[in-house]
Amino acid sequence: MGNMEINMKWHFPNYTTGNYRNPSITGLAVRAEEILTMNEDKVYEIIQRWRDTPEEDLKPEDYQQFKDIGAACLSGGDSEQLLKFVQDEKNQGIVKSMGCGLLAPLVDEVVRNEKNHDHCQAAITQLTKICSPRNLLESIFELTEAIDPGAISDTTLAILPHLQRVLLQLDENQAACVGLALSALQKQLSRLPVPYTQQQEEADEHGLCRCCIALAVFTEPFIERLKKMDEKCKSTTEDDELKAEILKFCMRSLKEPLLEAELNQDRKSTLWLFAVEIMVILPAIKESLSGLLFFSSLRKFPIMDTSLTKDSIACLAYLLFVQLITIDSFPAVFNPVYVLQCNMEHINQLLSSKKESYLLKALALFAKSLEKVEDNSLPVGLLDLMSFYSAPQNLRQVLTDCPIKHLRESGLKVFQLFINKLDAEGKHKFFRCMLKTSDHAGIDSYIVKNIRDQIQLAIKCNANKWFLGMELLPLLELVLSLPQGAETDLLTNMDKIMESLNLLRYLLMRDKELRSNPGLWEELSRIKDEYLKMLRVCISMSRAYYSAEMKALKEDQKLKAKEAREHTRSTRLVKAITVKPNKVDHMSPEVQYQVLQSALVTFDLMESLIVRIDEITEEKLGKLH
């Protein structure tokens, strides 16, 4: 070594002489050569050049090339080399300018390859320490948008800790960026199916449950920051923005996945724990549950999408009142009728859905809220509220249209519970409303049965004008009526008609109590007579029609049999016989016959009940005279 070289070595320890090459660059260059078929020396040169190039002079080609080299290194299985490069002090300039390009390939490698996990994570950590937070965020958002649908949860879990670190470094616009991050990730997670059986949840095949918990953990330092700010008693717009973003996160979580999940307090699954996290975050950011549930405090945040928030708040009500999450810190001073009133809006919101998970929660919340009020206590005025009108209507639709049996069964229980809680006038109004807006004989018959029970109660102990006074008449008009007069289809309306005849029979048996109000009795008799007269006409018309149908069917069978015999004798084509189209078209003749037969039996049944009613009327008249 000459003197000059010795001097250089003293002053510039990294000075390369002759064949000495920086090992980290060498490693990269070797890989690049292998995979990109670039000349190793060329790569080395390029990288050296980059080291000396200020950031402003770097071109897009440089960024792309750097990314390709890094990716090549990884695909060659040598993450360690890349890590060394990135950690090397001398390369910090390059990493700072162009390091973000490595993020996507590194995350990809973490997700796909268990083997190189540690190196890659360490490399990413280094990037987050050196690169500018803005550039990092841009890259992270880009790779989130382009997430592989098959690797949503793995990718999310891989980037969350890094994302958190980057966001915490932000000096300004932190709230907005936190908001963007949460919304981007939740958007991806919403693509994953929500488990709804215990097995599915435990398996967590798509990783949704794990990601939810990870997201909750992710938000922790930001919530801590909000808590600390509060202590100083002066909140800045930045704090308010951060609070709004966290609140949006909670609202989105409540709708997806929590509203779809099957939560069970006996089995504290991962999603249950996530629900608890959300319920704890809300008071931590100073959003009281009573404010959200009762006093519409979300209206302060106009940026929220209202269709989202209605579902979210409904879920919140369910989690609090049915699953009892954080109920012990909820004020125990509210009037149960008021709580029911507020919950009715949420119940109605969920009842309007067709999703099983939503309906289950609606019915549970409905039942729970009703159970807290005394029987016969809800005043009739409540029925004027939109939600109190709509919820039972929606419930009725579940009872008649929902294909899921257990929902119809629970629904019926809630329906009866609702009736039980109304006071006498309320019941009266409700029955009238249901009968007027009727579209299903089964429901009607259920209402008529309830009316009978109320009259019975009124007679026994609780006489009131609604069920034992003149007010009973408008109700009876609705019960003892045929919707299409003499042309009413007796079969579809059978349930209601049978029940109303039963009611009539009951009223006649209790004539003593009813006659004590002569005006009532007189009107009742008139209504009865008109009804029975119409019903008799209707029955005889129906009977005639069905008998004719049966006869036509028999004739048709005979004809078919005859022609079948003829056909076996001749090879001629038999002309198809057209049968008069009727309801029982798609059934076999035997079944058709049975249906018609049972229709006639039904008419017999109705008629025998009418006869019995007439008998009782005669008996009573006889006794009076």
């Binding site: 202590e231 006093f295 001073v333 509210f334 009037n335």
Partner: protein, 221 residues
């Protein structure tokens, strides 16, 4: 027995407009037996009787009094109690409605622990804010919104709602309307005006529980 009163006015004088009805009524009330007055509907406040009685009726009554001689003291003694009763019936008070429209006496008691400003009382529908602690009779605290650490009270907010609207248990609604801003009171609420037969088990309130609240009315808007 008192001497028979003298007949002061002649028929002509009675019928004359110069003689006000009130004078005739007064004479009759002073001198006629209670039963007589009752029959002729002359009992009660003179002004009221004057409104309802026509002059002709009073003339007739006056004459009949002297004819029948049913002066004061001619009724049997028992009628004294009837007198008292009859007066009450005739003197129909304007306000017939009983004060307690609902169930009777209030089902809570209030003991003032710290006086309020005695000026700002909330009305029905006013928003109010309170700090409170609720305990059962056995001393169990079932609810409070007062944070344990003193410094945290700066961050916590009192419970706010519109009073007298049925949003809270009746004991609270009724009691708060009697409190003024700044007042702290101890309320003992019977179950009928709290959570009644059902209680609120998830908040540790058993059925038929009497609740004790210490409430501070922080603000009235």
């Amino acid at each position: 027995m008192a001497a028979e009163p003298t007949r002061e006015w002649s028929d002509e004088q009675l019928k004359s407009d110069d003689l006000p009805k009130k004078d005739v009524i007064k004479f009759l009330q002073d001198n006629a037996a209670h039963s007589f007055l009752n029959e002729h509907k002359l009992l009660g406040n003179i002004k009221n009787v004057a409104k309802t009685a026509k002059k002709e009726q009073l003339v007739i009554a006056y004459n009949q009094l002297f004819e029948s001689k049913r002066f004061k003291g001619t009724d049997p003694v028992e009628d004294v109690t009837e007198l008292v009763k009859a007066v009450k019936i005739e003197e129909k008070p304007k306000e017939v409605k009983a004060e307690a429209v609902d169930e009777g006496p209030p089902k809570y008691t209030k003991a003032v622990l710290k006086k309020g400003d005695k000026t700002n009382f909330p009305k029905k529908g006013d928003p109010v804010s309170c700090w409170y602690t609720g305990t059962l009779e056995d001393g169990t605290v079932f609810d409070t919104n007062i944070p344990t650490a003193a410094k945290k009270k700066k961050q916590a907010k009192p419970l706010s709602f519109k009073v007298g609207m049925g949003k809270v248990i009746r004991g609270w609604d009724e009691a708060l309307l009697t409190m003024s801003k700044g007042e702290t009171a101890r309320l003992e609420i019977e179950p009928e005006w709290a959570y009644g037969k059902k209680g609120l088990p998830e908040s540790k309130i058993p059925p038929n529980a009497k609740l004790i609240f210490e409430v501070e009315l922080v603000s009235v808007d």
